[in-house]
Each structure stands twice: as C-alpha cells, then as structure tokens.
C-alpha cells in the first residue's frame, strides 16, 4: 500500500521534503516503517531521537499502519 509520511525539522531536510511517499507491505507496523526509513535515509539514524506519530498522537511501542493514517516522523523537539 502507498503511504504518505510527514517530515519536520531536520527530518524534513534529511528526507528532502515535508511529504515522503512510500510503497509498503500491508500490515506493516511503525517499527517496520522505521527500518525502511532509516534504510532510505541513513542520516535519520544519527538523530538523538526519532519518534513516530500516527493521526497526531505519539506511538508508544508499535502499531500497525492503516491506509489513510496520518503518519509523521518527529525528530527531537525544540519548541519554546
């Protein structure tokens, strides 16, 4: 299935844009996605942290991705 991933901050710069499109197998979970992303963009591995959010919520552990989910990769935040 095709998914779109939002990338912000330094992750956006590493991935070359705010929106990444990937073709992934059905039933993939967030851990699987993380592997694919770090293979495609090895520099992501160097970050202090890389969280994944699905539908606007941080994922704790791993969750299976469904078509239409809003997926985002969240490098270390630095607001304020």
């Amino acid at each position: 299935m095709k998914i779109e991933i939002l990338a912000f901050g330094i992750a956006r710069e590493i991935c070359g844009g705010r929106l990444i499109e990937m073709d992934v197998r059905e039933g993939i979970d967030t851990d699987g996605l993380r592997l694919l992303l770090t293979e495609a963009f090895p520099s992501l591995s160097g970050l202090a942290q890389l969280s994944i959010a699905v539908n606007g919520e941080y994922v704790i552990g791993a969750v299976v991705l469904n078509p239409g989910d809003e997926i985002a990769i969240i490098p270390p935040v630095s607001g304020g």
Binding site: F8, G9, R12, A48, G56, P76, V77, S78, G79
Partner: protein
C-alpha cells in the same frame, strides 16, 4: 477553566494573553515569555526559524493545559507559540496561568513550559553567521 491555545506566525500579544487569564477570581497570574537570545554557546544568533506540526502541536498543548488543570487549582491557561522566522528579542512563546492562589499558578506555569519543551512537535533552527543548527537534533 479558560483555555486559549494558539500557534501563529505573527507577533505574540502579551497584553491579550494576560487579559485572557485575568478574571476576577485570579489573584495570581504567572507568565513565562520565551524570547530569542542573541547568543547560543558563545555564538551570535542571526535568526531562528521555527516550524510546527500544527495540528499535533495544538493537540499536545491542549493536553498539557488540561493536565495542568488537573494537577493544580488554576482558573485559566494561555499558550501562544509563534512560528516562522524570528530575530533576536522576538518572543517565541507566551504562557500565562491564572489562579486564586499564586503557588498553583507558579507551579503550573513551570510544568507547562517544561513539558512543552519535551513533548510538543515544534522545532527551531538557529542560524549563525557561519552555519545553522537544528536545536537538540543530535546527541
């Protein structure tokens, strides 16, 4: 409890933030203002660029405000965060908390800024004369 949570790319308005939590029952109002400093680690900052995952950032800020309201007896919370290009002295964030008694406002305000900095998906890039750095990106 009054809540007013905003992200926008125009200058923040301190008076408006404080007025929102200044109802007649609030004896103590605690305000945190985060400004862009001219120096970081001894280097001159030219500008900062703030970027937010708006929808999620607003939701995370709402959560923080609600949590603060459960932990302390407060009457109102304002969190306004700015995005876009900011220069030295510009205000990036204003947090205002009202409470009948000051210690609740002080503790809640501190909790909100500390938590905001660790959970809310907003990022800043510091631009120096000779380069740029995404703050906290690397270990």
């Amino acid at each position: 409890m009054t809540r007013d949570i905003q992200i926008h790319d125009t200058p923040l308005d301190l008076t408006r933030c404080v007025n929102t939590v200044s109802d007649a029952g609030s004896g103590g109002i605690q305000v945190f203002i985060g400004n862009v400093r001219n120096m970081t680690g001894g280097k001159s900052v030219v500008r900062l660029e703030y970027e937010a995952y708006d929808r999620m950032a607003l939701r995370e800020m709402e959560k923080i405000a609600v949590d603060a309201g459960e932990k302390w007896e407060i009457t109102g919370v304002v969190i306004h965060h700015r995005t876009g290009v900011l220069e030295t002295g510009d205000t990036a964030v204003i947090i205002a908390v009202g409470a009948a008694h000051r210690h609740a406002a002080i503790e809640a305000c501190r909790y909100i800024i500390d938590t905001l900095k660790t959970t809310v998906p907003i990022w800043k890039k510091e631009v120096f004369e000779d380069g740029e750095v995404w703050v906290s990106a690397y270990p």
